[in-house]
Symmetry: C2
Subunit: 206 residues, 2 copies
């Protein structure tokens, strides 16, 4: 079962590492990090590079595709080869998924046309140009396309995916293996619960 994580220069690391840490525990998963070209890609702030062992040319017909967001999304959204790869992958994949502003990359590949979708709360206005119906939900499933909200939402999405790919017992065991019993210090993680001041500062940190 091939699971492909797309990475690119200036991606958001947790968008992809959250789902990876869940899905790599799916028995028989063959996890592949795929970049437009194989080799190192820098994370958003350049603090480290992730070495992708595969280029899009090497990965054909993955069962699951996970697309993160990040400051570098614009380059991917204008990279015809990567968009064509995504579009082709979606036709045969069991699940094509995004986290955060990775939804806009799916949009640019034509995958969200006529679908309900979510993204990072501060970027929902950018879904409409791709023909998507914005839904302010933590995760949206529309056909074989699953979109998750901002950054950390990929962990919740991946546990749902793990249950689809295996069974509830295995998904629960994965949740326990990563001890995902969240206890955030405040409930500020949703824009509905945050003050306008916090929202403005969060936009500048997103």
């Amino acid at each position: 079962m091939q699971i492909a994580f797309l990475v690119f220069d200036r991606f958001t690391a947790l968008d992809v590492i959250g789902p990876y840490e869940v899905l790599t525990r799916v028995p028989d998963a063959e996890v592949r990090f795929v970049a437009p070209q194989p080799g190192p890609v820098n994370t958003e702030d350049g603090a480290f590079a992730l070495v992708a062992r595969h280029g899009i040319e090497d990965v054909d017909g993955p069962e699951v595709v996970v697309v993160p967001g990040g400051a570098g999304k614009a380059d991917v959204m204008s990279d015809a080869a990567t968009l064509a790869w995504l579009s082709r992958a979606q036709e045969t994949a069991r699940w094509t998924t995004s986290v955060c502003t990775g939804a806009l990359i799916l949009g640019a590949a034509g995958i969200l046309r006529g679908r309900r979708a979510t993204t990072h709360w501060a970027f929902h206005d950018e879904l409409a140009p791709y023909g998507a119906e914005s839904a302010h939900e933590r995760m949206v499933v529309d056909g074989n396309v699953v979109t998750a909200a901002g950054v950390s939402a990929g962990i919740d999405m991946a546990l749902w995916l793990a249950a689809q790919l295996t069974d509830d017992t295995t998904a629960q065991a994965i949740q326990l293996a990563i001890e995902y019993d969240p206890d955030p210090p405040t409930d500020a993680g949703s824009p509905a619960n945050a003050s306008e001041g916090v929202r403005a500062l969060a936009r500048s940190l997103s």
Copy 2:
């Protein structure tokens, strides 16, 4: 404000990327990924390498240290140079922290002697030989040493740290920037809530 993330061959990626995605948003944070030697280190399953730009020789007196766990911890726990670096760092750091079985690395460095500490739920028995008092909590603060439970607990810990390093408003804005409004599909993330079958399978996936 220098924040050092220790990485090593066969580390658990989410242990360190969760806190990184929070702490890199602390204004004035200088994030450094530090390995025993600079260069690539493989994640636990070898799916990708993370290129650490710094070796322990290059990083002196960080304000915060974050130590992840992972299958490769044994090598670090017998690496005198890295343990000496950690022990020295703890003396001057504002916060010395671990996620998951990173606590055992702190223990091997002598940092947990006489302290309360937590780790991944399946590894609590391994704290005692280091003179630590095991506490089954999501996060334990003892002096300037903070230990977090398994894998995903690093995100909760890092948001607490962000509030200490800045202020509550900034920490809330970071929580909102990563949209950390968790919604796990089940409550199986704590061993107390999981069946014995799920616990056994989770041990094999940890």
